[in-house]
Amino acid sequence: MSYLLGENLIGGYGTGDILKGCTLSVARGEISVVVGPNGAGKSTAMKALLGMLKVLKGKVTLAGQDITSMSPQQRVQLGMAFVPQTNNVFSSMTVEENLELGAYVRTDDYSDTMSQIYELFPVLKEKRLQPAGELSGGQRQQVAVGRALMTKPSVLMLDEPTAGVSPIVMDELFERIIEVKKTGIAILMVEQNARQALAIADKGFVLVTGQNRFTDSGQVLLANEEVRRSFLGG
């Protein structure tokens, strides 16, 4: 059962449509990965789900509720969290302040959530009083994910979380993401490192020119000859 579902989305910037009827979905406790060549509309689809882009046709539902016309802020209140690809931390502020700001909309005591995040990312606890801008790329991504988790979201959306980090850090990040998934959160991510991402995906979407080319489980997509030849480099 899909928790977050974007059906037959059509939309884009200005006059040109980037999304031409693509469908994405993710269930709680699962990871969905969106892959595809440059310009396929992967990040755009993500923005459409979050409400940062006007959808001309199609429908977005969260837990069965139609949220197509809601603003991003309203969707955040409903439990959607988003980690942008770049500039995703407050670089002049400490790690701890970044996390606190993640919980800005919360009025209850969030110290529990914070200690959970420190458990998940032990390195952040160590560096909690350092400005986030002074951390390494991988650590910064952890701050970004941690900040997004502070709202206790039901859906976590990640836009290329492993862009620009080393393969070792990438593996570590993916491991953390699997741990987050185990807490029952639905995770939807756009990835350039398609092979590694599909390996941990419950569901994979291959987008080409704004449409679904292949949709299946991660394992099946990895085994598919055509997907491998065209999108995974053999």
Partner: protein
């Protein structure tokens, strides 16, 4: 003895005045830098807002004096200060609603905001003069000197006197209080953190659910507090003249830019750098050097870099040098 005389002379004419002037500039530059950090434009109306704040405080002071309300040895203006802040807050909020919010909704470029603020500057300049006139106004009452030069001479047995005005001590004390409060606010409160987050990364702040309207409101209020403090303290220490705050704009901007615009600590440091440079460059060191040199020797000229009429050239020079060599300022602020 000569050495002590030299120190006292320097304190009286350079160190204390520039510390006081530096505190006034620092308060002004802090206001400029906070508005810039959040709203990303240099508010050229800052000087005239200071002038407006001072005039409002002067009117309240006069009213208090007319009903016989004074603060004893303290200046009556201190009692009027909270009301001055309130009136200035209303003015600043009115400009925000009627001018700046319009351009923010249209997502105008920073240069449009700057030009709009120049318009606000000219308008305020006229409005203020309409009410207060063009005369110089001294609104300091209460005890003028804490230490008088003559008494100091008698007490110390030195040739040189040291005078300490009450306004000088008040300026430094209130500046310290204001800065401590500001830093506490920015570091510890939820709204302060939201403001810093907004200044750091606007998009992410919006994604985190921070309400930009609230941040803008808090920023203008803080700037109104700093504007009023800076304006009133300067006016108390010197005097109120309609054009004086317009002239202060240059050293204030120099201070904010030297420190790194958008960086509160930089604004404070910048204020003192500009003030010390200005005072030191226009002070005649002849007498000071005579004390330090051999007996009976005296420099041939005044040993004065610039005559006092040219003091604004110092700010200008600092501004140009910083923009050429290190445009982000000492604390790595933004580039204008």
């Amino acid at each position: 003895m000569d050495f002590l005389n030299a120190i006292v002379l320097l304190s009286n004419y350079v160190l204390i005045p520039s510390l006081v002037y530096g505190s006034q500039l620092a308060l002004g530059a802090l206001g400029v830098t906070i508005v810039f950090g959040i709203m990303r434009f240099a508010n050229f109306a800052h000087g005239e807002m200071m002038s407006f704040a001072t005039v409002s405080t002067i009117f309240i002071t006069w009213w208090f004096q007319s009903i016989g309300l004074t603060a004893g040895i303290l200046p009556t203006a201190l009692l009027a200060l909270p009301f001055g802040i309130l009136i200035t807050g209303l003015l600043v909020w009115a400009t925000e609603r009627s001018v700046f919010s319009y351009y923010r909704q249209r997502k105008s470029k920073p240069v449009i905001f700057v030009i709009a603020s120049v318009g606000v500057m000219f308008m305020l300049n006229g409005v203020v003069r309409l009410f207060i006139g063009t005369d110089e106004i001294i609104f300091m009452d209460g005890l003028k000197f804490l230490i008088k030069a003559g008494e100091f001479k008698k007490w110390s047995g030195l040739n040189e006197g040291l005078a300490l005005k009450q306004t000088q001590v008040l300026t430094v004390l209130l500046a310290i209080l204001a800065v401590a409060w500001l830093f506490w606010f920015l570091q510890k409160t939820k709204m302060g953190k939201a403001m810093r987050a907004f200044s750091d990364n606007e998009d992410l702040a919006l994604l985190s659910g921070i309400d930009p309207e609230k941040v803008v409101r808090a920023t203008w209020f803080i700037s109104a507090v700093l504007i009023t403090l800076a304006g009133v303290l300067y006016g108390l220490d010197k005097s109120y003249k309609p054009l004086i705050y317009f002239h202060l704009l240059l050293p204030i901007f120099a201070a904010a830019i030297v420190g790194g615009i958008g960086q509160p600590l930089g604004a404070i440091l910048g204020g003192y750098i500009v003030a010390f440079s200005e005072v030191a460059a226009t002070y005649a060191f002849k007498k000071f050097l005579r004390y330090l040199g051999p007996e009976g020797w005296s420099p041939e000229d005044l040993v004065q870099l610039l005559s006092t009429e040219y003091k604004f050239a110092v700010s200008f020079l600092i501004l140009v040098l910083v923009l050429l060599i290190r445009p982000t300022g000492l604390f790595k602020g933004r580039v204008l």
